[in-house]
């Protein structure tokens, strides 16, 4: 099992904009480099990418959650 950690402090978003579907749904497989969410820091947006491939992603952070740098965003098998 691996964890994806937040690289930055800010607000976490699961989709590119409110009217778009989430980048990944719970249970999806993930390839290294896939975008799994966005972190908004002081009004600028930064993509969060998976560093390693995995299956069955399970999000710990909810959409629009405040998040600290180093906090877990999701678990991967």
């Amino acid at each position: 099992m691996a964890q994806i950690l937040s690289p930055l402090p800010g607000t976490f978003y699961r989709s590119a904009s409110p009217d778009q579907p989430p980048y990944k749904a719970d249970g999806d497989a993930v390839s290294a480099g896939d975008v799994i969410g966005l972190i908004e820091v002081m009004k600028s947006f930064h993509e969060v990418r998976a560093e390693t491939a995995g299956t069955n992603i399970r999000f710990i952070a909810d959409n629009e959650d405040p998040i600290m740098a180093g906090a877990p965003i999701a678990d991967l098998d």
Binding site: P9, G10, T11, M42, K43, P66
Partner: protein
């Protein structure tokens, strides 16, 4: 006079408003999100109310929570500051509807100036020069062709409901125009729910010059102009008053036009009428009116000696304008720089964190508006403005020397800030000569990237 004011904002502007209210003997209530419990505005206000979680949508943009806080604490008035709900007409209406005083103009005035087409029409009707273009909305491609005779190329196609640089297309030829117009229409409809478009000539090299006005609903005065030509991604970074580019004759003409507009729309409170100034043609054109106090208001306060926020509070409390136009005069030159929590060496990446060390500049002609204190944790959820350093001196040259002195005194440890940018700009010959326009800084940043990285 107002008795108890709720400050519906955070950061340096909340601190600024609390100070003005306390100077007038008005009690203050701060509101804060869960991320701002330790912030300076909460410490300085007489009372403070938690209005929700960190996300602005759930706290500083939460109209219900703000109105409830005002009711629960017995406030008689609300100051919106800038950003957040400051130019939200529905918020102004809701505050008034709750039998509270909104420190700013009516919802109708905010709506009129917020719609770019109606603002442009109001300005033209008041005799204010507008950028050559359509009189109102352009109804279809055929009507667009007629407007082209006034604008020529390049021409801007803008969304009536747009703003902040969104919903703008530029066409350089008839072929491009015929392609871009329907696209802009569809885009505006999708983005703003309103496909209305208007057209304006593209003004090449221009300065951004804006006039501060104060009005009480019937009378209006101006407090001269500010120049804010130094912008990065349409955000101002360095502002001055007065503008060195204007002749005395044109300055009077410009400021009189802003007063005419404020009077024509029966404006109340503090407002800013923004213009583009074309050096070569020696002409100015109305762009928009901002119906709030602006970030850069202190440079006007420095050269005129007027406390703009205090005047806003007096007007909102029902007083008539106390200052006559003949009492307003310009003394010296002022410069403001915006110290943001951004790393200029890394393309201005945001840099939230803890203020490990703080040394605030002082001495003659120096003002530092900020919410910082040693140990303060800068939250990542809001904009990156940490402080405004304002210097005032007899001349522009002396103000730049004083700016360098004050920047060298300033130390904000533990964070990356835009201070190195301002030291580099203050040493630049074109900057020293004031030879700039609204797109100058972006070119300068590319040419000086190596120096900023070092």
């Amino acid at each position: 006079m107002l008795k108890k004011l709720l400050v519906a904002n955070r950061g340096e502007i909340a601190v600024r408003i609390i100070r003005a209210a306390q100077d007038l003997g008005i009690a203050t209530v701060a509101v804060y999100s869960a991320a701002d419990a330790e912030s300076l505005h909460v410490q300085l206000a007489d009372e403070a109310v938690n209005i929700g979680p960190p996300a602005a949508k759930k706290s500083y943009l939460n109209v219900e929570a703000i109105l409830k806080a005002a009711r629960d604490t017995g406030c008689d008035s609300v100051h919106p500051g800038y950003g957040f709900l400051a130019e939200n007409a529905a918020f102004s209406d809701a505050v008034t509807g709750a039998a509270l005083v909104f420190v700013g103009p009516s919802g109708d005035a905010i709506r009129m100036m917020g719609d770019k087409v109606s603002a442009r029409s109001a300005a033209a009707a008041a005799g204010v020069p507008v950028v050559p273009g359509s009189a109102g909305r352009v109804e279809g491609l055929e009507a667009g062709h007629e407007v082209l005779t006034a604008t020529g190329f390049p021409v801007m196609i803008k969304a009536a409901a747009g703003g902040g640089g969104r919903g703008i297309r530029i066409a350089n030829s008839l072929a491009e125009f015929e392609q871009a117009f329907p696209q802009a229409e569809a885009e505006a409809l999708a983005a703003f729910g309103d496909g209305g478009l208007y057209m304006e000539k593209v003004i090449g090299k221009a300065r951004h010059i804006e006039v501060q006005v104060l009005a009480d609903g019937s009378d209006a005065i101006h407090c001269y102009e500010r120049e804010c030509s130094l912008q990065r991604r349409r955000q101002k970074v360095w502002e001055e008053a007065p503008s060195r580019a204007l002749s005395d004759r044109l300055r009077e003409e410009l400021c009189a036009s802003a007063v005419a507009l404020a009077k024509a729309v029966k404006y109340s409170g503090a407002g800013t009428v923004e213009y583009l100034y074309d050096d070569e043609a020696d002409r100015f054109y109305f762009i928009e009116m901002n119906t709030r106090i602006q970030v850069e208001h202190p440079v006007t306060e420095a050269i005129t000696g007027i406390d703009l926020v205090a005047e806003m509070l007096r007007i909102a409390g029902g007083e008539k304008l106390r200052i006559r136009q003949s009492d307003v005069s310009v003394k010296g030159h002022a410069i403001e720089v915006r110290l943001n929590a951004e790393d200029p060496a890394k393309e201005f990446a945001p840099f939230p964190g803890q203020v490990a060390e703080l040394r605030i500049p002082g001495g003659p002609g120096v003002r530092f508006d900020s919410m910082l204190y040693q140990g303060y944790q800068v939250p990542p959820f809001y904009d990156s403005l940490l402080a405004k350093l304002i210097v005032h001196a007899e001349t522009r040259e002396a103000a730049i020397v004083r700016l360098i002195r004050a920047l060298n005194e300033l130390k904000i440890g533990g964070l990356k800030t835009t201070k190195p940018l301002f030291l580099a700009l203050a040493a630049d010959p074109a900057m020293r000569a004031g030879d700039v326009h609204t797109r100058w800084l972006e070119g300068w940043l590319i040419e000086n990237a190596a120096a900023l990285a070092g």
